[in-house]
Each structure stands twice: as structure tokens, then as C-alpha cells.
Subunit: 464 residues, 2 copies
Amino acid sequence: MSHEPNDTIVALATAHGSAAIAVIRLSGPKALDIVESFFYSRAQKKKLLKDKTSHTAHFGLIIHQEVILDEVVVTLYKSPNTYTGQDSVEVSCHGSHFIQQQLLKLFLSAGARMAQPGEFTMRAFLNGKLDLSQAEAVADLIASNSAISHQVAMQQMRGGFSGKIKLLRENLIDFAALIELELDFSEEDVEFANRNDLKSLITKIITVIQKLVNSFDVGNVIKNGIPVAIVGKPNAGKSTLLNVLLEEDRAIVSDIPGTTRDTIEDEMTIDGVLFRFIDTAGLRTTSDIVEQIGVNKALEVIRKSAIVIYLFDSHAISCGDLKMEIELLKDHIGNSQLVLVANKIDAENDTDLKAEFSDYPEMVFISAKHQRNIEELKQKLVALFDTRTINATDTIVTNARHANSLRNAEKALIKVNDGLNANIAGDLLALDIRYALEELGSITGQVTNEDLLDSIFTRFCIGK
Amino acid sequence: MSHEPNDTIVALATAHGSAAIAVIRLSGPKALDIVESFFYSRAQKKKLLKDKTSHTAHFGLIIHQEVILDEVVVTLYKSPNTYTGQDSVEVSCHGSHFIQQQLLKLFLSAGARMAQPGEFTMRAFLNGKLDLSQAEAVADLIASNSAISHQVAMQQMRGGFSGKIKLLRENLIDFAALIELELDFSEEDVEFANRNDLKSLITKIITVIQKLVNSFDVGNVIKNGIPVAIVGKPNAGKSTLLNVLLEEDRAIVSDIPGTTRDTIEDEMTIDGVLFRFIDTAGLRTTSDIVEQIGVNKALEVIRKSAIVIYLFDSHAISCGDLKMEIELLKDHIGNSQLVLVANKIDAENDTDLKAEFSDYPEMVFISAKHQRNIEELKQKLVALFDTRTINATDTIVTNARHANSLRNAEKALIKVNDGLNANIAGDLLALDIRYALEELGSITGQVTNEDLLDSIFTRFCIGK
């Protein structure tokens, strides 16, 4: 990808497919020229754009070789107050694939270049409009599919996370400067940097970094959904339960006509929290986790889950047998949370069942078929997530790259700390401090390189 | 659908799916109020929209209950210079499904109503921004997938067709007025309307209408693509040929990265003309049209085609045998155009083959496998279409509703003509003239009713 943003890029910014409108976006020094050269009034007279004010919208025709390609609205964004920092134009056209393609071809023929994925946002970064972690949050925001993942991405895009990292880094830089100063005077054996102050600072920073690193466990779940497995014997009602859960979710979604969602089959959002059912296709058919407990695939599903729902037919099992099965299961679920769900309850046996399984006060009694107490089960799932005390306003690391840099910085600072305890020389300390600074700087893009930028921005969609 | 456009409607105007941006559109008296009530500056201070100029774009945050839903650009369009004629707002947000949904919910909660399909354009019609045939052309424009269908829709949207119909109608109205005047003086047996002038006018109008009605054959093909069947014996190379034709088309389309098309498998555009292969799924596998000539399904495919490509293995058949097969085929193809294609040619047998089949000078010699002369075949297909002398700047009827109204008007005017020849009374003439006027008026919406509007606009996509 070119990191010299002096040419003009163009891309479709809206989703593909036929719709009322589509938006084609241009950014670069020739953006206004290119669009202007094809822009005409309703009466087919040439319309000027460059003399118009920024942030204004203009109705007109796009005409090429006397053929009217479309009636459009052109919105001007003049440098520097634009998303990319460059002159930008948005052409809002009729949402036909044919028109989109013709307009793109036209702008390309006039000197624009097809934008690479994320190139608009990369320009925003290169022009200082966003730092790197904010830029990455833009992609997360677009991909966000629950209230929490949305809020975390929004907070990061608006600079919450960057602010925290920058603060850590500034504290370290001040100290690094003193240590480096000592090196200049190394013959004289002076200490400008108070070792006790440095130690307490390093300890403080390590604590903050550790908290951030730990938040990635949760952050990852927020971003990708909480993995849940529904396990149980055949005929326990696993597939009925899953369908009931998913269908309700879909029904809510389809409340708003026209927003038919690209359904990812086995995901659902409860109270803004995304749950993802792992490999339930297999579970839905014949495989029975408990019976196949030795089978690798089944174990894998359980291992990947943060929550394991153990569903059983409340008519078909005694409490004693259940206990044995749970013990067997517990050997395999590791740190996952286990939710016991008694299925196929009815009004008649409700009280008896609760007495029978009174050893398990947390057990949820449902009827998947008759959709009884499903809401209770859903609240249970949400509550399990809440017990991890997630607060979307906390700074939560959701990006594996950030988590990795934080871990590296942590390691370096632990070495600094050890070095301080062992009273090692300032130049060795300086080395590790510099390394930690670089790792922290790479998160916000204060320290960066072309490969890193490419690997980040190629993950974006084209047009952003 | 409500035809009282006094409430405020909202819809997603861009295609569904994840993308850089999405646009939510509002139209109605409360559009500005609704968006303004959630609109804040970057510093989270309330931003006013109503005092801003029309056609301006404003960056800001959408905040609800202290949660930032998105950073957006809000573009204002103030009545009357808007698409619908009403106050309108376009909110350009990040293209995440979650954000789209949240913003829609928010605007709905604040008093907007979800727009019905085509409701924005219906409001444009009701507010006199477009006539009915122009409004219908908007939907055609969005659906257009070839240069010709695009140009015909564009011309109709820009009023070319309406102008023609309105002119016909005005001529008739002048005469109708004179005839109606005669009725007022019917006791006195006067003739204000010169019968010869009327006759020549009616004849002229009928001619124009007939030309328009006839253009619908072509218009329908422009809109829906030219139906083509590739028939031939097993191993003639039908599926190879189809794949070669379609793949080339796709390669052209994918020239522009990022414009991956929602491929409709069996369509291709050659020189701006859309060709549609009918039921080729079946043809590609085992069925052999000629051998199954008695089978209904095969006959149906041929009957539906405007062009039948008869493909044969040039190594496997003599000219004599071919003649017999063609005779058999000709019994069934009706008005379709037959294109004879000799497949599997190579450099060695090229000349011999052309001699062998010299009775068929129009025959195309190709090698589907080695992609020889494919371009020649394509030009042949386009030429068949061209022989119908289509000119995108001609007025072409592409809409079945319009064709139907024109046919009804034509019938009525033929009755008027017959009546004039039989010297029948003015009141009977007036009846049929009025009927013709109504039919013509229904095309442009000068005469209309709620059912008609509903049936037209429900075919639109939501958001337009």
C-alpha cells in the first residue's frame, strides 16, 4: 500500500447490492477536480464545485460523452476539516450496481486510483486525524454487533484507550530522559534518576499494564461473542432450545422492517451481550457430548466455550444419576461456567422437580418446547457475563495486537524492575525502558512502520 | 400505504450489510426536529440543525441517554428543494448493522415512522416533484444492469416519455373540449369539431401509440435481458461455451477491485446489452434439447428464448445430418432467431469445415475450449439485437403497466375512428375519447387512484 497520500483515491463507501442510494467517496488533491469535470446542472450546464463552501451538498448530473450517467448529490469536504484531512467528495448516486460501476470507472479514468482497504482511514492516521488505536477502532466499530462491543469500540475510537497508553508512555519518557542523561555523564557516576522513584513508577505502570492485559480476556469475548456450548444426551431438547433462543432473537431483529440481517446462524444478542454457539451444527444433529466425552471433537467444543449449558430431560434422570454425569463433565470443562438446565418441565411436576434437584439451587427449569422460563435462562447467561464485572466505560483491550504489545512492554518493565533491585547499570535499564516505550508507542502509532500499517489497514473494508 | 404525507418517515437508504458507511434518510415535517434532538458536537454539546442552511453537512455525535451511538455526518435538505419536497435529513453513519439498527430504533422512538417501500418517491410524486412514469423510472434505474436499460430508464426519469404522452393527451383534450361543447348545443345540431380534422388527429395519435406499444417488445427485452437458449447434443460443448461467455463477463466486472457483483449466474452484458440464459442450469448438465424435442420442458426453454444458439460438434456431424436437425428444430423455435455455431474447430480443419457447411454462410465457427472466435459469436449476438434497430434515445416503453394503458387507449381511439367513419353522434365519440384520455393520464399520474399508487410503489425498495 502506498503511504504517500498525494494521489487521489476512490471507492464505493456503502454496502454492495441494489438499494435506494449508494455513496462513492474520493479523497486527495484532485478529488474536487475529478468530480467537477463531469458535473452538470439539471439544465446540463457545467457546474463548478471548487468555488463552493466546504460541507455543502449539490444536486446535479454526472455526464460523460453526452450520456447522463446519473442524477446525484455531491457533498464537498474541503481540507483540512475532513475525515482524511484531504479534500474529499462524496457522490450520492442511485444504488444500482451498473451506475456504481460506471461512476467508479469514470473517476478512475479521470485520474483517481482505486482505494486499498482502509486507505481512507490510513490517510486520516497519516494526517494526524486519528492515532493508530483509534483507526483500528473504526474497523471494530463497523464490525460491532452488540451494545457492549459497540461501546468499547466507540470509546477506543474516541481516544479513551489511547489517552491511557499515552499517559503511561509520557511518565516513562520523563524517566527515560533522566536515565539517558546519566549515560552522558557515565564517567562521573551520578544518578539523576532517583532509583526509588523509578521503582515505584515502574511498579505502578506494570500494575496498569497488567490490568489492561487481563482485560483482553474479556475484550476478546466482547468482540467475538461469548462462546457457549449446549450439551446433553440425545433427546434432551438441545436443538429445540437453540432454535427457541435464536428465533426469539431474530424476531426482535425483524421488528424493524427492512433491516433483515445477514444472519450469522448461531449468534444471539441478549441485553446487548453477544453469545456465540460453537459448532452447534454438530450438536444439533446426533452427537451427544456426554456420551462422546472421550471424543476429541466434543472435548474441543467444551474447551472453546466460556459457558457450557448442560441440558437434560427432567423426566428421564434422577438427582443421583445427574450428580454422576456432572462430575464426569466437570473433569472437562476447565474454567468454563456450567449452567444446569432441566428441560421438559410442566405445571404438574414443577414443584416435585425443584425438590428433587434441590442440591442445585442455581438450576434453571425450562420447557424449550413450550417456551417456559426461557427468559430466566437468558437472564442467567447475561448474569454470568456480568459477574465478570464488565463495564463498557472501563478501558478494555479488544485488539490482539494491542494485548501483545502490552505483554511485551510488561516483560521489559519487569526486567527493568529486576534490574533496579539488582542495582544494574543505567545503560542496561535504558535499553529495556526504550523497548517498553517502543511497544507502547506502537499501539497508538507514535512508533510505527509500513509493514505494521499494511497489516492493520488491509483488514479494513474498502471504502473506509 | 398512507397517502397523506404529513408524518415523518425513516429508512435505511443504502444496501444492507457491513460497509464503511450507511445512510439513514428521514422525510417529513419532524425530520429536522427528530435528528436535532439527539445531535451533539464533538465536545458533547447540543448542536442545532434547524437554523442551518439547506444542503449543508454537519459532523457530530448521536447521543441517547448519555451513550454515544455514533459519530455521523448529518446533511440537511430543507423544503421545498428536496427529493420528496419535504424537509429531509440524511444521517451518514458507520456501516455496522448494529449502529444502523440503533439509529433507526432511536428515530422511530422519537416519532418517525418506518417508510414503506417507495414511500420517499411516492411523496416526491404527491408533491409534484416527479410524475408517475418518472417515479416508476426511478425503480427501473436502480434495477438497471446494462447500458441500454440504464439509458432508457434515465430518459424516462428525466421526463422524455412523460413529455410524449402529455403532448398526445393535450391534443386530444383540445378536441374533446370541442366535442363536449357540441353536446351542450346538441338540440341545434352544430359541429364545432371538424370531423376531418378529428379523423386525421386520431389517426396520427393512433400511429404514435402503436409505435410506442410496439416498442414494448424491445423495451421488455431491454429491461429484463434478451433470453437466449444454448441447445445441442450432449458433448457439443454447451456448458463450456456458457462458462467461457460468462467468465469473460465476470473478468471484466472484476477489473475494478471492490466491486464484486452479486452475480446473477446466467446473465452477461455484451456492449451494454444484457443477455439472459434461460434455465441453463438444466442445459449444463445432462438434458439435450434436440433429443428431448418432444419433452415439454425443453420446448418451453426454446419458446421463451429470443435467440436459440444451436451448438454442434463440427467433427461429429455431416452437413446433411445437420440440415435434418435444423429442420426439426425450426418447427419449434417460432419467432426466435437461430444462431448456428460449429464448435471444436482447430487450425487444421478450419477451411474444410467452412466448405462443408457453406450452405450456412451465417454460421459461426468456434472453439469454446480454446476460446477461439468467441468474440465473433458475441458480436453476432449483439448484431441480432441491433437489427431490431434499437436506439436508446428513442422513446421505448419498458413498463407493462404503460403498455397496457397504451393498448387500452389505442382500442378506444380505434372505436372513435370507426365512429367517425360511421358518422355516429358526438356523445358516443366523447365517451371513448374520455376513456382514452383517462388511460393516457394514468401513465403520467394525471389520473390516478390509491390502489394504483400502492401497486406501483410497493415494488420499490425501502428507503427510496
